[in-house]
């Protein structure tokens, strides 16, 4: 079932939680709502579920206005902290949605039993049926919560930071499992996360949100490779930030000078440029034409298959972060204290006026230490 969100506004007192949200989610897709905490992503999810009401705007399911009340919307909702019914067994938790149906639509006891066991089979936890939630691990609880949500055969599955309370290893397992499950069931699913890696790995589409607005909608490749705004650039992946000025189709960033035909009309406008740590080459010799910046290697950390180098630009003391493969690192024979020349391969330039609309979080400024 497709979801169509039109002109949604929501305020909590003076705080604007959502501002003019327009979003179409095609049927059968797995969509991630990604953003920092307080960006409105959970509020949006709760409005889709009917647990919260919007001040303005419409939610359409398959082109039709969604029911007023949450219980009539036929959505499955998975909570960050599971929200399993503590006093019921796993079996009764999953059966709950079927048992509370009005008598006319309520399945028989045998049908309920069969359905619950089918779902327990799907999540591969059949042996847990007689247990209570307090006897389960976090990962098991979240899978039970998912089975409970699926029991009512929802048109839409909504997951609020489903793996947020789990440790890294279980989280990785579960998100792969969720992806496989989605490929099997094809229920239109929306999940909220602040973890960019999770969003990139699992989803078909990513909706990046900030300050109650949508910054960009796109496939994982699109939002990672072609971020629409400085915020998206910073939020997805690590970045290095260079400050400079744009003038008549050229941008000057410290010692760098590069062409920016899109800013042909700009006259001495402050600009900022973003470059990913893995989009930087380190050269031993400077190149002609102001395409490199001299810097000294101050720290080298080996991170599994990658090597991360921290460099101090010799001219203005800014820190630059570079990532390369271990093979490349070994071939270049780089050592702490070496003088090298930084050459960005892909630079994305934003003018300062744009930047004012989406103020980057302070700890991302000045050096490339994103999340």
């Amino acid at each position: 079932m497709s979801i169509d969100i039109q002109g949604l506004h929501k305020r909590f007192g003076n705080f604007v939680a959502l501002e003019n949200i327009n979003l179409e989610i095609p049927a059968g897709q797995l969509v991630a709502l990604l953003g920092p905490s307080g960006c409105g992503k959970t509020t949006l999810l709760r409005i889709i579920a009917g647990l919260e009401t919007a001040d303005e705007g419409n939610i359409l399911f398959d082109g039709e206005q969604a029911s007023q009340h949450a219980r009539d919307r036929r959505v499955g909702f998975v909570f960050q902290h599971y929200a399993l019914f503590q006093h019921m067994t796993v079996f009764e938790n999953i059966a709950f949605g079927l048992r509370v149906r009005p008598r006319s639509r309520r399945p028989s006891e045998t049908q309920i039993r069969a359905k619950v066991h089918e779902l327990l089979g799907l999540i591969q936890l059949e042996w847990l049926a007689p247990r209570y939630p307090s006897q389960l691990s976090g990962g098991q609880r979240q899978r039970i919560a998912l089975a409970r949500a699926l029991a009512v055969e929802p048109h839409v599955l909504l997951l609020d930071e489903p793996f947020g309370a789990l440790d890294t290893k279980v989280r990785k397992e579960l998100r792969r499992w969720l992806r496989r499950l989605h490929d099997e069931l094809h229920v239109t699913s929306v999940f909220v996360t602040h973890d960019q890696e999770e969003a990139l790995e699992v989803s078909d589409q990513i909706v990046v949100m900030n300050h109650g607005r949508i910054e960009q909608i796109g496939t994982p490749e699109e939002v990672y490779d072609a971020p629409a705004t400085p915020f998206v650039y910073q939020f997805l992946g690590n970045i290095n930030l260079f400050h400079g000025r744009a003038h008549s189709g050229w941008v000057r960033l410290g010692g760098l000078r590069l062409q920016a035909p899109e800013y042909q009309d700009a006259q001495h406008v402050p600009a900022m440029a973003y470059v990913r740590p893995h989009d930087i080459d380190l050269l031993r010799e400077p190149e002609d034409g102001d395409t490199t910046i001299p810097a000294r290697i101050t720290r080298i950390s080996i991170l599994g298959s990658l090597v991360r180098l921290e460099l101090l630009q010799t001219e203005d003391g800014e820190i630059t972060e570079v990532e390369m493969t271990r093979e490349r690192f070994a071939a270049d024979q780089l050592k702490t204290g070496d003088l090298v020349f930084v050459k960005p391969r892909h630079l994305r330039v934003f003018l300062q006026e744009e930047e004012n609309q989406t103020t980057p979080l302070p700890h991302w400024q000045g050096h490339g230490d994103g999340i």
């Binding site: 219980r71 929200a83 503590q86 949605g97 409970r148 949500a149």
Partner: protein, 289 residues
């Protein structure tokens, strides 16, 4: 050679002398102020023989006092149960204007002396009170009658259940209710199948405390009762009358009844506490497949 490891960690345990001293002080205090009076009640009650004891508690006035006490409990506890659950539900699960005022109001009976509470009822409903003349016209008697006693008892026991439930429901949050709602449950079903089971032990604990207080209430009831024997005397008031009439054995006999009820309630309370603490750490032994 390494030094032997001390049996107790001195950083977390006090020396034996201090421990036994503290324990001793607590025990002496308890036996002087709690256990001794308890023994005294039963000793005094039975001093003149079991015959006098039985006569005292089967006296028609005593029986009617017991009846009235149980009647006010029968009103106060269910009323406060409904009110307590409703108030705790509203306070714990919703944000609304005047919430802190409601919380303060619930605490009012704790803060106000019961005698004052009784007096307020007299001022409101008494013959000289605000509503007195109107009530007299309608031929409704509240002060110096059973309704006044029930009202006073309800008033002084208001906080017990609500106060027990508010922190419990606040800690539980609203997620389970929201989950039930999304799964298609109506508000009523959600209350009976999700909310109530989650608060049942807290509710029982509140009911037990409320019952104990309702049976023992003296001050407020004393003011509104009028002490009419066989009509408006509750058990505590009956005991006072007997005592003032120098019928010590009878007074203590009735007091022993209240004491017994209190002990029963204490036992139930302990059971509930024991059950809730074991329920929180259920053993998974024997269930592993």
């Amino acid at each position: 050679m390494s030094a032997p490891i001390p049996k107790t960690l001195s950083t977390t345990t006090e020396p034996p002398l201090i421990r036994s001293a503290l324990l001793g002080v607590a025990l002496i205090f308890l036996s002087l102020f709690l256990f001794l009076p308890l023994v005294a009640v039963f000793y005094e009650a039975l001093r003149k023989g079991i015959g006098v004891y039985l006569a005292a508690i089967s006296d028609p006035y005593a029986l009617s006092a017991i009846q009235l006490t149980l009647l006010s409990v029968a009103f106060a506890v269910p009323l406060n149960m409904v009110f307590g659950i409703a108030a705790a539900w509203a306070i714990a699960k919703f944000e609304f204007w005047g919430k802190s005022v409601l919380i303060t109001l619930i605490d009012l009976p704790f803060a106000v002396s019961p005698v004052i509470a009784g007096l307020i009822y007299v001022l409101l409903f008494g013959a000289q009170g605000w509503l007195g003349p109107w009530l007299a016209e309608q031929n409704i008697k509240i002060i110096f009658a059973v309704p006044g006693i029930v009202l006073a008892t309800v008033f002084v026991t208001v906080p017990f259940i609500a106060r027990e439930l508010i922190p419990l429901m606040q800690a539980q949050g609203t997620e389970e209710e929201e989950a039930a709602l999304v799964l298609g449950a109506s508000g009523w079903i959600t209350f009976w199948r999700i909310t109530l089971p989650n608060i049942k032990w807290g509710l029982m604990y509140g009911v037990v405390l409320c019952t104990a207080r309702a049976m023992g209430e003296f001050g407020a009831v004393s003011v509104v009762s009028g002490h009419i024997r066989g009509l408006t005397n509750t058990l505590p008031l009956h005991i006072e009358i007997l005592y003032n009439e120098y019928q010590f054995a009878a007074a203590f006999a009735c007091a022993s009844l209240l004491t017994l009820l209190a002990l029963v309630i204490l036992a139930i309370k302990t059971l509930i506490e024991h059950y809730t603490s074991t329920q929180r750490q259920p053993s998974s032994a024997g269930e592993t497949a």
